[in-house]
């Protein structure tokens, strides 16, 4: 039984790490803010859920796994909200998405959104 749980932890932590690395690459390599938000907001949340699931397998039904559940719920609520508010604020401020190949001009920054 322990062996199966260990295997489960290995698999879920490895998948979670994979998603985290994808997040990092996405943050670095995507062309503009709106695509980067997908990396920073969505992949992160998924990785949190998967890794916490893997850790909960190790702790069993204790207070620890309840706390892990709370963390997942909390991140699940706040991280998308924060990135949503970010995207909305950026859009309102006039930051245009990069639309290569879709007819729109490839304009990434407006005058007042750039900070330096």
């Amino acid at each position: 039984m322990d062996f199966i749980l260990d295997i489960g932890t290995w698999i879920s932590l490895l998948i979670g790490s994979f998603f985290l690395l994808i997040t990092g690459f996405g943050l670095l390599r995507f062309p503009d803010l709106y695509t980067r938000i997908h990396a920073g907001g969505m992949a992160d949340t998924l990785a949190t859920a998967i890794i916490c699931f893997g850790l909960a397998l190790q702790s069993g039904f204790t207070l620890i796994s309840v706390k892990l559940l709370f963390i997942v719920i909390f991140v699940f609520l706040t991280s998308p909200t924060a990135t949503y508010a970010l995207a909305q604020a950026a859009f309102v401020a006039g930051l245009k998405p990069k639309l290569d190949g879709f007819g729109g001009p490839a304009k990434t920054t407006s005058t007042n959104a750039r900070d330096d």
Binding site: F74, L77, T78, T81, Y84, A85, Q88, V92, A93, G94, N112, D115, D116
Partner: protein
């Protein structure tokens, strides 16, 4: 293996601090400082200081970011570029740093068990005797509230005084030094206010509203948990106070300062500010009346350990109330200051 994570973290820390030094936009510097603070708290976790990491996360990454933003909203976020490389400060800090690095070679190895810090009798007492003598598993709490109760009383008073100072400085009416200085030379915040007016009341803010409404009760519940669970795990009055204040600050950010002030007027905050310190001092006075020394909790009950529990509970409660009120008072001061510059707000 674990030390490599430490080293990696410390290198990230240095990179972040250098970036803080070089960016010209103060807003960006604040963001980077908050990231540096997160990394520092992480480093505290790896160095076994969970209580400190708790505090640093709540204070450094949360409250102080909000405070810097409150300041930048009032003074503008552009730093005037300095024309020349400052040679004398560079030489001075390099020479001081060089001397200190030279001195570190005489320092004991990190983590070795035979350093004076680890072998001192005080440490032995705290680590070996305190769980029996005080009866509390978290040694940090027992040292903080019982052995070093005087010191913590002093720190609480400093927080109290600082909050009073901020209120005194920022509650004054706006005075210009020169009457002829008509136009406001302060740089505006990054987004012009007129722009945001078009979007005021947009239904897209519904999501942060609803999510915060769901979260805020749990934040308060969590603050109480941290306050009263501080004897058994990381936590205590300082952390709980900051979390409690953070709940109110979130409420204020989402629903507006004036509504928060209707719920918790500044007058009430000031009362709580004083009440916490008085509660702390009162425990000391009661223990003197009962025949012990100032802040000697043993006499508070027939059983010394029960007495210690009562004393620590009350003292931590006093700290928590003062810290909550102090952080809120400081936030009110900064966030409410914009009233002095009416034309900039609307």
């Amino acid at each position: 293996m674990e030390e490599f994570t430490d080293i990696f973290l410390m290198l990230l820390l240095v990179a972040g601090s250098l970036a803080v030094l070089y960016v010209r936009n103060l807003f960006v510097a604040t963001m980077l400082l908050s990231a540096v603070s997160f990394l520092m708290a992480l480093l505290f976790v790896t160095l076994d200081a969970v209580d400190v990491a708790f505090t640093e996360a709540a204070v450094g990454a949360g409250i102080s970011t909000v405070l810097y933003l409150g300041t930048l909203a009032l003074v503008g976020s552009n730093e005037r570029p300095t024309a020349k490389l400052s040679v004398i400060p560079l030489l001075l800090s390099l020479s001081i740093g060089g001397a200190l690095v030279y001195a570190t070679f005489e320092m004991p190895t990190i983590g070795s068990p035979d350093t004076p810090v680890q072998t001192s009798n005080v440490t032995k007492r705290f680590v070996e005797v305190s769980p029996i003598e005080i009866g509390i598993p978290n040694m940090v709490t027992s040292v903080l509230a019982s052995y070093r109760g005087f010191d913590t009383f002093g720190e609480t008073t400093v927080v109290f005084t600082a909050a009073i100072g901020v209120l005194l400085i920022l509650s004054q009416k706006h005075i210009r030094r020169r009457e002829d200085d008509e136009e406001d030379s302060t740089p505006r915040p990054a987004v012009s206010v007129e722009k945001s007016h078009d979007q005021v009341g947009s239904p897209h803010d519904l999501i942060p509203h609803v999510v915060s409404k769901i979260l805020i009760p749990f934040i308060f519940l969590f603050a109480f948990y941290v306050q009263f669970h501080g004897d058994f795990g990381p936590g205590g009055g300082f952390q709980a106070g900051v979390i409690m204040a953070a709940g109110f600050i979130l409420y204020s950010l989402i629903f507006g300062l004036h509504i928060t002030k209707q719920i918790l007027p500044l007058r009430v905050v000031e009362l709580f500010l004083a009440f916490g310190v008085l509660l702390y001092g009162g425990v000391g006075i009661v223990s003197m009346i009962k025949g012990g020394n100032f802040l000697d909790y043993n006499v508070l009950s027939a059983d010394p350990i029960a007495g210690q529990h009562i004393g620590i509970l009350l003292v931590e409660l006093g700290v928590g109330i003062t810290v909550t009120a102090a952080m809120l008072a400081i936030f009110y001061g900064f966030a409410g200051r914009a009233q002095g510059r009416g034309k900039d707000v609307n």
